[in-house]
Structure formats: structure tokens, C-alpha cells
Amino acid sequence: MQTGASGTPLEALGLIPAIPLAAALVNVFWGRQLGRRAAGGIACAAVAGSFLLSAYAAVRVADAGALRDVLFVWLDSGSLKVDVALAVDRLSALMLLVITGIGFLIHVYSVGYMAHDDGVARYFAYLNLFIFFMTLLVMADNLVLLFVGWEGVGLCSFLLIGFWYQENVNAIAGNKAFIVNRIGDFGFLLGVLLLFWEMSGQGIPSLDFSVLERNAHLLAPAKLTLITLLLFAGATGKSAQIPLYVWLPDAMQGPTPVSALIHAATMVTAGVYMTARLHFLFSSAPFTLTLIAWIGALTALVAATIALAQNDIKRVLAYSTVSQLGYMFVAVGVGAFSAAIFHLFTHAFFKACLFLSAGSVIHGLRGEQDMLKMGGLKRYFPVTYWTFLAAALAISGAPLTAGFFSKDLILWQAFASARGSFGLWLVGWITAGLTALYMFRQFFLVFHGEARAPAELRGQIHESPPVMTLPLVVLALGSVVAGWLGAPHYLGGGVWESWLAPVFGARPAAAHEPLSEELWLVALTVAIAALGVWAAYIGCVRSTRGFEVSEPAALRALYRLLARKYYVDEAYDVALVQPLTRFSSWLAASFDPGLIDGAVNAVAGGFWAASVRWRRLQSGYVQHYLFAFLLGALIVLSYFTLG
């Protein structure tokens, strides 16, 4: 405690990550012997245990403010001391509940989804490991430990994306995810280092959050801007923002529950969590905040437009995730951290629900993911249809659903808060329309219209078993009602603001603006969302071609541009990957063996050649030797004539 961190000690805190870790180890070592059911059972039970503990912790937090458990000294280099210290405050308690709660549902769902897979033990081991790292991430009491969780979830993401490793695409996607994330982490790490030495320069050699928070004001603004920019670089990687969002769509190669858990509900929000956790740094770095807001807005817009033209059921959702994360960063950028977390919370429900529903469809269609081969599935999927619809409505911001509350809160903050601007709002607003459009395009393409599935498959399409649909229902319910926690004041207000107030401080109320203005904006948003739904209906139910327009040429080009994701992957390939590869193969094939090793070998060869050449001096003729003797004598005697 010498670092001055505060919090009520709670020994049991360590169990929250420990239980899933233990379960993961059990599955790693004995999973195959235990059999499928046991493997799944252990995993689910572990997460359930964590959830219960988290709930307990949340209750305790409500009284105590913050809980803390220092396990042991991890690193102590003399200047820096890092403890393995867990802490739970209201923010992390919330995150824990999301992670373990939604995590539990997804675990349960996975039991059904992965029922026929060979690697089920491995799957659950990874999944539990993920829960471990994710809980560690949110419970970490210092930046370094947070980084452990941060990288750990990256590892699990890598493992799970490439879960079906025998397909090269999957493995490649896993690599891409990890490496792109590492690019962000590079910045993050530098940010941590810079932060530490700056603090150290102020006599506060610590990376504990509570210590940092108390002393953040000591940092020079310029340095602070640099630090936050570097940290945000990490967030762009983890939370898939421009320019590092490219890995997330590819990450859909993993099993669908994984996409739901890691690539929608939890891991990708780690960046948002991190900025929220370090809100005291970010909020005093105006430049960074502005940048974050605009990057978020731009990401939201770009991803939404791309989502319009995707035909893979999961990719649409992936881009949707990117887009929604953009929203969260808009909120962060305008300093509305609690709004960001609120959207994170609601998003976890509806996006998990969407993914799992999509998974249910895919499961029922034996792995088919192309929406152009679906259509008219409503009758095959009675439960999934409704859960999907609920979540789609939520994400589109249908009034009184979860998404409605959180999105409107963000848009309002973007418009009205001190850092907000009309431009930000406008982008967000347009994106809201696009969101409804692509969501309902997907909805209609999948569940309505004519059935496009191959005839031989049709007989086998079936709704998923209860073990899968039950979590769906829970999540769908969440998608609809979870928003009330943060209901706006004109609807009576929720507990959200007050719950998080100890963490972020009382939000500088944007409520100077008249209520009417806020309502107007809500109305505008709802209107554009409705427009989006309508357009989707026109485009997909009527024409069934899913916007794949052929006329006129300009539109077709636009469509192709979107379908090809603005050629960003290709551009990265040409601008970064290829030059690097070419440079590196030049180094490996020419420079290293040719010049560097060549120089070494040339020296050796030179001596050999000299030896061979100079051997001829030794001609074998004795009189040559004598002559040389004489010359040598002359050299010796030259001392005499010269000296």
C-alpha cells in the first residue's frame, strides 16, 4: 500500500479471474479425457461462479466505493514497482458484470453451438482463458497489469479466430488480428513508458490508477497530449478504429459465439474501457479528445457504409461493431465517458444477441453465411427471428429499446456538450440512419423475401436447440430493457449517471440546453432510423437483390467501392505490407548473405588466396632462398646505411 492506492481490501477478488483460469487449465490438461459435456459444464460453471462473485463485488462496491486486493509484488526494478493488484470500483464492477454475465450466456450457447466439434475442450479452455484475461484487464489496478490482460485477450482472440486452424484463412485472420493489435500496442506501450517517466520526473514513480488520478494534474499539457495519443493508438487497435480496424471483419473467421463474446461484446470494448479508466488523463488533453471524437465519428460512418454492401451475415455485424465502437469513441471524445460506457453496456446485449442469432441461423444452415443464399427463413427460426428483430431494433435505435437510450445520449452529448459540435452530431446522425438501413437490410435478406437456400438443404434447416435459444431470449430481453438503466431525465432518469459518478465525477451537465432541443434531436434520429428501415424494406423485400445495383454506373461503382471496403486492405497491402516484405526479403536474400556475411567470407577467402599466391615465393630453388637471404641482409644493413 505504500504506493498510496486506496480501497477496501477484499481477498476474494482474486477468485473472479482465478476460477475461469482454473477451469481453463482443467480443460487444457484433462479436457479431452473428460468429454464434451464435462468440458462445457466446467467452463460454464466457472463463468457462472465468476459472475456471482462479480455480482457480490458490485454490491460491495456500492457501499465501499472501491475494493482492492494486492496479491503479490510482480515487478520491482527499483524505480518502478508493480503489484499484482486487483481493484474493483463501480466502473470495473459494471464491466465485470457484462463480461461474466454475457460471457456466461455465450458459454451456455456455445455448449450447443460447438456440440459436434472435435476441439470442444480446447474451445472452452480458450474461452475461459479469455474470461480470465478480460476480468484481469478490467480489474487491474495499474497500467502494466491492465496491459497483461490487454495482451492476454489478444492472445485468446488469436487462438479463437484461428480455432478451425486447418483452414488457412482462419489462421491468417488470427495472425492479422494479433499483429494489427500489436501495432496499436506499440503505441500503447510507449504511452505507458512515457507516462511513467513523466510521473517519475514529478516524483511519483507509479502506474497505479488511483495514484495517477491524484497526480495527473502534475503533467505538462504537451506531454499529456502525447501520452494520451499514444495510449489511444492502443485503443484504435483493440477497439478497431481507423486506421487499425481492418482486423475485426477478418476476425469473423472464428466460431460465431467467439465473435459475439470477444469481437462484439467485450474485448473490442477494452479500448473504450481503457480510455474511461484513464479519463483523468484524456479529459485534460483536449487535442486528443477532439481527435478521438473525430476518429470515432469517421469510423462509425465508414464502417456503416461498408456494412451496407456486405453479404456475409457475420461481416455485416462486424462492421456494425466497428461502427458502434466509433460511437463510443465519439462519446469519449466529447468527454462523455459514462455515455460511452453506457453504449458499451447496451451494445454488449444487442450485439451479442445479433451475433448469436446469426450464429443460430448459420448453425441451422450448416455453416452457410452468405445472406444471398438465405431469405425467407422466418418460418424455420421462430425464436431466432424474434431475438434478431429485437436486437436489430435496439441497434437501430427504435424508441425505448436499449440502443435508443445509449445512442441518443451519445448524439446529444456530441451535439450539446462543451466539446461537441454540429459536425460530430451530423456524422453520428447519418450513421444512425445507415445503421438502421444495413441492419434491416440484413434482417430482410435473412428472414424475409423468397427462400434462396439450395433445395437439398432446405429440408435440413432447423431451429437451434434450447441451450442456444435460451441465451438468445435472455439477451433479446436485455436488448430491449437494459436501456432503462440509463434512461434520460425526460423519461424519469436512470441510475447510470449516479452509479458512475464516483468514477468520472459529476458530468459537466450539458443540460444548459433546453429540453426541447434534445427532444428535437431524438425525433430527428428516430426519423432517420425509420427512413433507414423503410429503405431497407424497399431495397430488399421488394427487389430482393440486396442493393446490389447495376444501374446507373456511378451507383454501381459506389457499391463496388463499398463491397470492397474502400480497398483499404489492398491499400495497406500495397503501401505497407508489400514494401516491408520486399525490403525484408532483400535483406534476407541479398544484403545479409551478400554484404555482411560476404564481407566476412571475403576476408577468409582473401587470406586463403593470399596464402596460395604467396606460397609461390617458396619456389623450391635454393638459390632463390639465398638471394632472399641476401635481400634480407640488405634490409638489416639498411639500418646501417640509413641510420
Binding site: R615, R616, Q618, G620, Y621, V622, Q623, L626, L630
Partner: protein, 101 residues
């Protein structure tokens, strides 16, 4: 008047040089041996001249030893030449370069 001692020295040096040249240039081993004798004789001359200059007998005694050694060397040298000639009917040292490099 006496001849200055360095006259003898110069003479000896010249003879020595001639001997050296003979050793290096002649392509008959026996003549080479003779040239070596010339070199040794030049040394002897030097010794004797110095003995005279110093007025010491030592120099002359040394000449005696040098002669002994020269004789011994001549004997061994000739023996080697004979041994060599059993392998090769030639006295030309340039024909003998089995060993080189």
C-alpha cells in the same frame, strides 16, 4: 709505412661479396661450395687483419678454428653432393626442387 687496416677490410669485403655472388649464381653445387670457401676466407682475412691491428694472437687462433670448420663443412657438403648425385645425375641446384610451396 703500414697499409691501413681498412684496406684489408675492403679487400675482404670484396672477396666476401664475390663469394656471395658465386653461391647465389653458380649452377654447379661444387662451385657453390668453393664460393662458400671464398666467403670464409674473406672472413679469415678480416680476422688476421684485425689481429694485426690489435696486436693480438686471438684473431689468428680464431682463423685456425674457422679453417677447421671450413674443412668440416667442405667434407659434409661434398658428402651431401655425393649423396644427392645418387638420386639425380646432376649438380645443378635448380634441378632440385621437390620441396617447395
Amino acid at each position: 709505412m703500414m697499409i691501413p687496416v681498412h684496406y684489408y677490410l675492403v679487400l675482404a669485403a670484396v672477396i666476401f661479396a664475390i663469394g656471395v655472388a658465386g653461391v647465389i649464381l653458380r649452377r654447379n653445387l661444387i662451385v657453390v661450395l668453393m664460393s662458400i670457401e671464398l666467403m670464409l676466407n674473406a672472413v679469415n682475412l678480416t680476422f688476421v687483419a684485425f689481429a694485426r691491428a690489435h696486436g693480438q694472437m686471438e684473431g689468428q687462433v680464431i682463423v685456425f678454428f674457422v679453417m677447421t670448420v671450413a674443412a668440416a663443412e667442405a667434407v659434409v657438403g661434398l658428402a651431401i653432393v655425393i649423396a644427392l648425385s645418387r638420386h639425380r645425375r646432376t649438380l645443378d641446384p635448380e634441378q632440385m626442387h621437390l620441396l617447395r610451396g
